[in-house]
C-alpha cells in the first residue's frame, strides 16, 4: 500500500479548514460563557493562532468552512439527553437558570468572533449537535468541492472538535488537527483529548501545516512567473 506524505495530504486543491465553534458565546468577552466565569486566556491564544493559520490557508486558496453551534431560542431542538449533558456535566452551563440556551440562532453570541470573521467565498454552516456532520450538509459540501482532507481547528477539543473529527474520519476524510488551534476550558481535559486524537488522526502544530502550504505557495509562484 502506497504511503502518503503530509505534503500530499495537505494539498490545497483538496483540503479545507473547518473552524469549529469559535463563536462569541464561547470565546469572546461578553459572551455567555465569559459571563458565567470562563477564563478566556487560552481562547485568545487559540483565536490568534487560528487567524494566522487562516491567513496562510487563504494565500494558497484552501477552502474555509465555519461551523456555528446553534440552538433555537425556545429549546425546541434540545432533547432531554442533550439538556442533561449541560445540566449535569458542564461546569458553567446550567440550562435551568437561563432564559435562553447557549448560541441562540441569530444572536450576537452565535456569530463567529470578529477577529476571524468569515470572508467572501467562505462557507458558514449551522450545526445543531456536537458533530458538524449530523443534520447538516457539511458532507455534501466537502464532497462536491472535492475535499479529501479536513484541517480541524476551534473549540472544544474534547467535545465539538473531537466529535467532528471522528465523524469526518468515519466519512473517509483524512483529518489533520492543528494542536495549537484547538482548546478547551480545562488543560487536563485538552491534553487527554489530544492524546486520544493522536491515535486516530494526525495532530501537528499549525506551523507544520503552514510550512506544507508554504511549499505549495512557492510552487504556485514559480509556475506563475515562468
Amino acid at each position: 500500500m502506497k504511503s502518503v506524505t503530509l505534503g500530499q495530504v495537505l494539498d490545497p486543491t483538496h483540503t479545507a479548514v473547518v473552524v469549529v465553534d469559535v463563536q462569541n458565546d464561547m470565546c469572546a468577552e461578553g459572551g455567555l460563557l465569559h459571563k458565567l466565569g470562563r477564563d478566556l486566556g487560552p481562547f485568545g491564544l487559540m483565536v490568534d493562532n487560528v487567524q494566522m493559520l487562516l491567513a496562510s490557508a487563504r494565500k494558497v486558496k484552501v477552502r474555509v468552512i465555519y461551523l456555528e453551534n446553534t440552538a433555537l431560542p425556545d429549546y425546541s431542538n434540545i432533547s432531554g439527553p442533550w439538556m442533561k449533558i449541560s445540566y449535569t456535566k458542564f461546569k458553567y452551563l446550567d440550562q435551568r437558570f437561563h432564559e435562553h440556551p447557549l448560541t441562540v440562532d441569530g444572536s450576537w453570541g452565535h456569530r463567529t468572533v470578529k477577529q476571524i470573521a468569515p470572508q467572501e467565498g467562505d462557507i458558514v454552516i449551522k450545526k445543531w449537535r456536537s458533530s458538524g456532520f449530523l443534520g447538516t450538509n457539511l458532507d455534501q459540501v466537502l464532497r462536491c468541492s472535492g475535499i479529501e482532507t479536513v484541517v480541524a481547528v476551534g473549540t472544544s477539543t474534547e467535545g465539538c472538535v473531537y466529535c467532528t473529527v471522528r465523524d469526518a474520519q468515519d466519512h473517509d476524510y483524512r483529518v489533520v488537527v492543528a494542536e495549537d488551534c484547538v482548546t478547551t476550558g480545562r488543560k487536563d481535559v485538552h491534553a487527554a483529548a489530544l492524546t486520544l486524537l493522536q491515535h486516530r488522526v494526525v495532530v501537528i502544530p499549525s506551523t507544520d501545516i503552514e510550512a506544507a502550504w508554504g511549499g505549495y505557495e512557492s510552487k504556485r509562484r514559480t509556475s506563475q512567473s515562468s
Binding site: 500500500m1 502518503v4 431560542p73 425556545d74 429549546y75 425546541s76 434540545i78 432533547s79 432531554g80 439527553p81 442533550w82 439538556m83 442533561k84 449533558i85 445540566y87 449535569t88 456535566k89 446550567d94 440550562q95 435551568r96 432564559e99 449537535r129 456536537s130 458533530s131 449530523l134 479529501e148 474534547e158 467535545g159 473531537y162 466529535c163 471522528r166 465523524d167 474520519q169 468515519d170 473517509d172 476524510y173 483524512r174 481535559v189 487527554a192 483529548a193 492524546t195 486520544l196 491515535h199 486516530r200 488522526v201
Partner: protein, 361 residues
Amino acid sequence: MRPSIKGTSRLSATHLSKRYKSAVRWRRRFLTDPCVFNKVPLEIHRFDGRPTRRVDLLKIGNLSSSVKVVEGAQIPRNSLVPDRLPPDRRPPKLSGGPLMKPTSQGTIQGSSTCGPLLEFRISEGRPKLGEGWMEEFRGVQMLTTLQELVDPAHTALLIVGMQNDTCAPEGVLDKSGRDLQPFRRMIGATEDALSGARDNGVLVIFVQNYCSPDTRLGAAWLDYVFGRLDFLADGMRPPFTVPGTWGVATIDELSPAPNEAVVMASRSSAFFQTNLDQVLRTNGIKSLVCTGASTEGSIDSTVRDALLRDYYAVILEDCVTSDREDLNELALALLRGRTDVTSSAEVTEIWRSQSAGRRRL
C-alpha cells in the same frame, strides 16, 4: 338572523351552493359568538404537544370584546396536555374535545416566548447517580437517576465488538501477536450483564465491526485501522473480521440468541450508515447500556453518536476494555464528562429489582 358582517357580502352571490353558504354562516357564527368562542381551543397543539403562538389565531375570526389577549403572561401549565410527560404524570383529559379550558380569570393569556417554568423544583446541587428525580424543564423530560435511565422498558444493552478475530484465541489478531488478556478479563462481567438483561426484559443488540480485505472501505479508514494495531509487523495488513467468516462473529461466551438484533458496522460508530437508530426508535429505546471493545474506539464513537442522536448512554466500566490500558482510562475519563459511567453490578441489580416489581403487579 344576525346582521351580515362587513366584508362578507359574497354570500349573496347566487352561484354559491346552499350548502357552502350555510357552512360559512355556521363558521362565522361559531367564531364570533362570545359564548361559543370561549369553548374553542385557542391553542392549536402541534403533534408533539407544544402550542403554537397564540397571536396567529387572531387572524382567523373576529374576537368579541369580552375576550382579552394578554401578551407576555404565562400559560398555566396545568391546562396543557404535553405529550412528552409519561401517562401517569399527564393531567386528566378534558371531556368534550377542547384541548384547554379558559383561565379562571376569564381572560385568555398568551405569550410569544417561553418564560420561566411555573412549577419547578429547585435543587441545591446537581443530582448524582442514585439521587435526584425525573426532571422536567421547558416541557423537556430529563432522566437523571440511574433507576430511570436503565429502566428495562426503554433500555437496550449494546455489546460492541468482542469478535473472534479481534479477541478470541486462534483469531487473526491473536495469530498476529495481540495480547488477549485485557479482553479475556472482562468477559465474566459482560456475561453477567448479558444474562441480567436477558432475564429482565432488556433489549439486547450486538454490534459487529467488519473490515473488508480490499480498499472498498476507503484508504483513509484502512490506514487508521491498521495504523492503530501497532502490534502488527510493518506493512502487514491481514484481513480480519471479514463478513461471512468465523472471525466476524461475536465470541462464543457472548453469542447472540436467534431473536437478538445484530448490527454490522463498518466504522467505529455503530450508528454510522447502519440501521441501529431505526432498531432503537421502533422499539422505543431511550437509553443504551454499552459494553464491549474498544473503549477509545468503538465504545467512544458509539456513545458519542448516541448522545448526539438523543439517546441516554450508560457505560459499564468493568465491561469495556482496550488493548491499551492508558487509552482505556483516558477515554473513560473524557466520557465521564459527558455521560454516566457505572458498574455492571449496579445496573443488573436495578434491572432485577425493577422487573421483579413489575411481576408482582
